[in-house]
Symmetry: D2
Amino acid sequence: MRVGILGATGYTGQELVRLLSNHPAAEIIYLGSSSTAGQPYAGICPQFSAENLGLLQDETVPDGVDVLFCALPHGITAARARGFLERDIKVIDLGADFRLHRAEVYEKWYKIKHPAAELLPQAVYGLPELHRKEINGKSLVANPGCYPTATLLALVPLLRAGLLREDSLIVDAKSGVSGAGRGASMGTHFSEVNENFKPYGVAEHRHTPEIEQELSEAAGRELVVSFTPHLVPMIRGILVTIYAEIKEGVNESDLRAAWGESYQEETFVHILPEGVWPQTKFAAGGNHAFLQLTLDRRTGRAVIAAAIDNLVKGASGQAIQNMNILFGLPEDLGLKGPGIWP
Amino acid sequence: MRVGILGATGYTGQELVRLLSNHPAAEIIYLGSSSTAGQPYAGICPQFSAENLGLLQDETVPDGVDVLFCALPHGITAARARGFLERDIKVIDLGADFRLHRAEVYEKWYKIKHPAAELLPQAVYGLPELHRKEINGKSLVANPGCYPTATLLALVPLLRAGLLREDSLIVDAKSGVSGAGRGASMGTHFSEVNENFKPYGVAEHRHTPEIEQELSEAAGRELVVSFTPHLVPMIRGILVTIYAEIKEGVNESDLRAAWGESYQEETFVHILPEGVWPQTKFAAGGNHAFLQLTLDRRTGRAVIAAAIDNLVKGASGQAIQNMNILFGLPEDLGLKGPGIWP
Amino acid sequence: MRVGILGATGYTGQELVRLLSNHPAAEIIYLGSSSTAGQPYAGICPQFSAENLGLLQDETVPDGVDVLFCALPHGITAARARGFLERDIKVIDLGADFRLHRAEVYEKWYKIKHPAAELLPQAVYGLPELHRKEINGKSLVANPGCYPTATLLALVPLLRAGLLREDSLIVDAKSGVSGAGRGASMGTHFSEVNENFKPYGVAEHRHTPEIEQELSEAAGRELVVSFTPHLVPMIRGILVTIYAEIKEGVNESDLRAAWGESYQEETFVHILPEGVWPQTKFAAGGNHAFLQLTLDRRTGRAVIAAAIDNLVKGASGQAIQNMNILFGLPEDLGLKGPGIWP
Amino acid sequence: MRVGILGATGYTGQELVRLLSNHPAAEIIYLGSSSTAGQPYAGICPQFSAENLGLLQDETVPDGVDVLFCALPHGITAARARGFLERDIKVIDLGADFRLHRAEVYEKWYKIKHPAAELLPQAVYGLPELHRKEINGKSLVANPGCYPTATLLALVPLLRAGLLREDSLIVDAKSGVSGAGRGASMGTHFSEVNENFKPYGVAEHRHTPEIEQELSEAAGRELVVSFTPHLVPMIRGILVTIYAEIKEGVNESDLRAAWGESYQEETFVHILPEGVWPQTKFAAGGNHAFLQLTLDRRTGRAVIAAAIDNLVKGASGQAIQNMNILFGLPEDLGLKGPGIWP
């Protein structure tokens, strides 16, 4: 497979390059960047000094690319996607343009007109563990957001099994700073972020409708969630803590059984031993998700936690997992390795 | 006032010394430590090299102490408290021994027999903004836990005003590592904690009954809460994110009004301008609490956040605030300064 | 004293406000800022919510200011200084404009023409422990740079005593990120800085001629130093590690004696007990400097270390120390407190 | 190759497992641990949940092991090494027991009698880029220390080429906390280490004689160095800043040429473009070393910097590189990947 990357110097772009460097069936033939075209990639990103990645190119995607990863701000990929598809380039969008099935929801939360609403029906929401069969054979994959990935892995099996009260879901989410991308701002300034913890985007974060779309589909009815993201003074990692009231008669083993059925064959989703709670570092650098739950009898609520690396399972690793599916390769090809500790 | 400190080399002990160094009416005459008696205090804690604090003493409290801060593990203060009180020493316990009104609740959560249950009726729960009048004139103050301080400042006025559904309260709490004290363990090891985020004590943390006791009192009925603490890779700071369903007919301005009435005269509690959410660093090193809320019409839930410095308003600063009340001094004496940023 | 601050929202500006909040003889009557004039200071800097600091003003310094702290980029203060001095406003410049005695040295290293070379003779280099008598009575104080403060406190007494080989001095310096100021850039981006360590400005940092000027003066002859700054993934703190060959016949006690004579009466300079090496956190938030040295017999070199808080003794605290001297106040007024640990 | 690891749960042990998981020619058949034998490895180290690594075993090394990595405290490996060698197990010691050629030097710095001085002649100092030919065919490899690896890569080519004054070498070294291992202590406590920077082991660190042995060999004469390690508040990474006076007539291009000749064919050593200085994060997670230097004409000194990941090129990655050499495999097998950024 000949691979291209648009947005190659951002954090998800760099992470694609890192992971693809170890992928036995992928060859990177195009690294596109709007701002640094013409410079050696290893000059911008010296961690790649031992790879021979050549120069960054402008944003004109060359012929010969089989699959294109778009790691661009929302709005931009959608505007160019039809052109790529017409050239038979498979498109994996790491941005938000094709995640929401309905253009009006996109327009409400992202505040711009959708540039390619006509393509939405052919896009697939690329969370392999939950939508594997639908991804196969597609040409346009909407790679899920980082918060939704963690949240959906935790909740979808429980909602599909009808174990939770659909109107009770609260997702308290925490992310490392790399989720905000590589742009310099007061919000990413070391002296403002380190030794600090804060919520942001309270009751208005754009991952909310994405989570609700997928959870509603799993539950078979429309639902809303309380979703509050927070910024953790660390680079990588997402952990979501979820509170859900259970339906009458449900007990903890029912919850575990629903997870077990969904994930026992999965390479990348790990239900931790009882009492061991996820830590973001379990997943750092790896394409893995870690889950745990307990049913608190005092309150009647399940407390559920999921941890991933936002740049891997929450972005670039999952994108490569989708690529493997699109091309009929073993899904874990080039992705198997463990995370990095400490 | 002649002040003594038991547990003077722990983090709350050091923080008491730091704050009392700037207190115009307090003189530290006793610094007690079980493990380092006989050594110069500034040898153990070189940040005090400019103060003349002399030697650490053993745990025998000398005569002449007017007020004794006990920064000791739970169980130990209770065993010694009667002796101090009989010597007319006022006791401010930074530990958990006198926070719970009922010995059986203490025994259930702390797994030991209460060493001085007979003193519980004369102890007061020392959260000045909520119990100021009761503190005045007492000799035994139970200084609140760090998580409870943040949680109660946020919720008590709203419950007293009858605005929240009492069975709906969820407290998702995040703390810096200093809350775990100065003991070295894998759980406080830099390489295990940094670049990591995790929940701990899920559904079983000992601050739960303390929060429930005070919230039940505010609500006028027994209630339970979901309480989940998390460890943030930073030294200082607590932020709690609280989810609460509102009673019918309540709107956001009712919630703000209840806070406003409670806190408009307070020096240390700050309701931030709408849309500005608390950050732990706002409070770092200062005795301040910062609050914000929003009513999410989509879900019908209030989302509430409060931030404090766990070692100041969550421990040593609040203890000095209590001391000031006990001795009829201006409550903010020696505590007025802002936090430290960045 | 009525105090004004130009550049009130930068890190050294905020630190001036924090320290002056506790100063019994200073009243802040003017907070100037080019970019945020008209906004409440506590809106930009919520840690000051309990102070009544009013609105930020533009850069027009009002009448009635007795002393003006200029926390501005180099070049700007010099251009305005004459005007302030003519209005009998004492000027303490936290920038670099008046630190170098010779305009041509300034112009070589700062690459601009000096805007007020004629004022250089009346400026004093405001390192109180080394130049106290010269500061007294002046109207224009050049507050030293952060790296020079740490370096000079360590070396000047040893050079004055003629103990070191003047051509052998190597200063390997390490600073927290706040030294780079509040501007957002890739170089201060959390994800680029955290879990990272790097040198910068190798053999070309602008603090080099400042260090050399003062060391040459102490040694009584021109000398040059190797000076290499590094960026540490922390907010506050500077530590310099210095290597110096000793003159023949010198031993470690001679070195200690020279320090002892210089600093035994000093409030803010602490020679640690033998074997205890400085840590930046000893000084965090306080106006203190911590020193240690050893004479390595194997190599014939003294290894010397000094630690300060770059924003306090390395900037705003020292500036207030200078203010106290200018106005005949006790030099440690409002500055006495210990640092903050942990 | 069937691989065994003694000390499998320490940081270098975990790093060996991570790297070997991606090695196509190595199979881990033995994971030994004194304290956690009998437990599932992925229970202790959940980042390996997707690998099937089975149970930890006690410290009895089973038959069938071709190569044994010893990641143990000094003194222990030496005591057991003869037994392993007699069983035809190749031994790669990540500890210090076989690094120093002379037992009396070991005994002076490590304060214990060498348990197997008779084996020293058959041990090889395993820094492949500098001793590749000597490693080939050996059975006992002393894997270099982390500080020495960075220092020697920077200095050996320059000394071999006779460009530096041998008595002028100063190595100011900085390391992340993982270098101190996994033991919990005040020195690794998050609240003591974060936002802090300090020197330690000044003029007495045990890597000093190791550095001196190898540099003396390169220079062809005995030399001593000033070596000062510092602790950086980060997990991984070492950066050394080196000061060296040049011999008369030497210029910067001579220095670069000596590096170029040594490293132009090397996969893992990267001379950065002029003006780009190493950062530890360039190497994080990868087996790479990054170098830069400048000749400061003002002082006549070369300033040289080198960065590695202390756990990879400074320990486990280099150990696998040595394994590859011992078994005649391509030296970069399983090690080629880039580091991880951010």
